[in-house]
Symmetry: C2
Subunit: 325 residues, 2 copies
């Protein structure tokens, strides 16, 4: 099986590539070839038992999409996207990459006249307040950002192209992925990872919101699991509603900190400094909190059991099994 991954250089993309190289197959089908694509050429894994091509580019550049689907990859993970903050700041770029890029890829597949499995990473940003206590899959998409709008449109296109028989699409709405390895970024949601990652690295972390903030999380490992499960899911199980909210661990910031205390001890927890930031708090309070994910659970998608497990995965996967006590 030939696999194409757009946005393969991103955090989830890299972890997906590692997992595919390790597994060597998807749902029992051997991987024969992989094509990686991102705005900078993703590092090709050197331990792969199959050829891996890596390209730098932007899917909206002339002939770029044509090049990517020329050899008809059977499985496509379309992860490439301009993130939330950037799509809000640069209206044109967000629509170009997130909407035109998605549509161009789908159109190129249609022109190539074959029918790949197409796994699309959508986002819970497709939902906008006011919310019911738990958001079901039947709740309407009322995004309050351009990013969320572009992802919602991507879901609609994917459903129509699937219904028409041009692709076999699955759109998975990811919760916040924590713990993100690496440097802190400037996303408003960054502290959800920061209050775990920095203390474990012996550094101070700033908590800008109240302990009572409720949010849904899944680990990067769970995110990769969602992608692979989506790839293996028989299309007839999905029907016409190809967009799915993924499961996750729903907990408060206080519960996150309590989990950190149990895993790493009081010394580590002490490195969290409370510095209330009304601007960040206001943004975060507008985000969805709880989801009714019975549909994705029934379809076999699995996240972590609790936040402790999310922390342990970070220590194991990103910190080599250890941390600064």
């Amino acid at each position: 099986m030939h696999i194409l991954i757009t946005g393969a250089g991103g955090m989830i993309g890299r972890k997906l590539v590692d997992r595919l190289v390790r597994d060597g197959n998807v749902g029992g089908k051997p991987i024969t070839r992989m094509t990686l694509h991102d705005i900078a050429a993703p590092a090709a894994p050197n331990d792969a038992k199959f050829p891996v091509a890596s390209y730098a580019g932007d899917v909206t550049m002339p002939n770029e999409a044509t090049k990517l689907v020329a050899d008809a990859p059977e499985l496509i993970f379309h992860l490439a996207a301009v993130v939330s903050g950037e799509a809000e700041a640069d209206f044109d770029k967000g629509y170009r990459i997130n909407l035109d890029g998605m549509r161009l890829l789908l159109e190129t597949i249609r022109a190539r006249a074959y029918k790949p499995k197409f796994v699309f990473t959508s986002s819970i940003a497709v939902f906008g307040a006011p919310f019911p206590p738990a958001i079901p899959d039947e709740f309407h998409l009322t995004p309050l950002t351009s990013y969320g709008t572009q992802k919602a449109i991507g879901e609609l296109l994917l459903a129509d192209y699937t219904r028409r028989g041009f692709v076999e699409g699955v759109g998975i709405r990811l919760p916040s992925i924590v713990v993100r390895p690496g440097k802190p970024n400037r996303a408003a949601s960054g502290f959800f990872s920061g209050i775990i990652r920095e203390p474990l690295a012996g550094q101070e972390a700033v908590l800008p919101v109240p302990d009572t903030i409720l949010h849904m999380h899944a680990s990067p490992r769970a995110a990769v699991g969602f992608l692979l499960h989506a790839a293996e899911l028989p299309q007839e199980k999905l029907g016409t509603r190809v967009g799915l909210t993924m499961p996750g661990v729903c907990c408060t910031v206080a519960e996150q900190i309590e989990a950190l205390r149990r895993v790493a001890g009081e010394n580590v927890v002490k490195r969290i400094r409370r510095a209330p930031d009304l601007f960040v708090s206001k943004i975060v309070e507008g985000w969805p909190t709880r989801f009714d994910t019975r549909r994705s659970l029934a379809l076999g998608f699995r996240a972590e059991r609790d936040f402790e497990e999310i922390i342990r995965i970070h220590i194991e996967e990103d910190l080599g099994g250890t941390f600064v006590h």
Copy 2:
């Protein structure tokens, strides 16, 4: 006030133009100028007390959108669309007119840097089965046609362009509009008008579905009323959720026929011939039946009280007050 109407040559467009010419104002603001646009130049009304320009074209032609918004019309009714059947048969044309056309118009307004009121006709085709007993405005958009997909994307774009301050958008989802004047068309829904229109004209009408079929209707006059009410609606009353399902008369085919009997008598009703068509029945059974329209009702949108009123409006407006007894 300068008003632009795309799709002005269609059935609702023509009735909207007539009403605007008759009223001479929208919400008390005098109309100073009107621009009509359609694929064939719409007939300009000859009794208008303000200048009316009429253009033939397709909004996706080079410079067409630029020409239409060059003089910054303050109120835009975007009615132009490839209809359901055609959008399903011609995938490219549907996306070009219904998606690219909408987006290009919004983009051109943004580039022109002014903020018109933008009234967009969406459709209940944005909803797809399975449905709850009454579909609320919070129900997700899961269209089962390319047309419905394009309209749902139009709603998402309109909401985002409104949120960003580029337009003041309202998207109104129209129920089935009956009684459509003129010749029968080949739409699967055509019989809803046909079983009223043909008998009143002394002709036989074919009823392809069971009497128990439930559907939501509004008259062309109500549709024009929705458009004008949307144009006058203060934007702050809508908030970020700019898509609204319009009210209508929800009744069975049996109730439609009973209403015809009360309005026009047994002789007219006898001209309806039952000829069950399983193909048409199957399509119609997949359509939404009841909507919870409390939001649009609370915002002041009004449809007819009952199906009798819909029939009387047809007789008055399209048949000069009389029919074949």
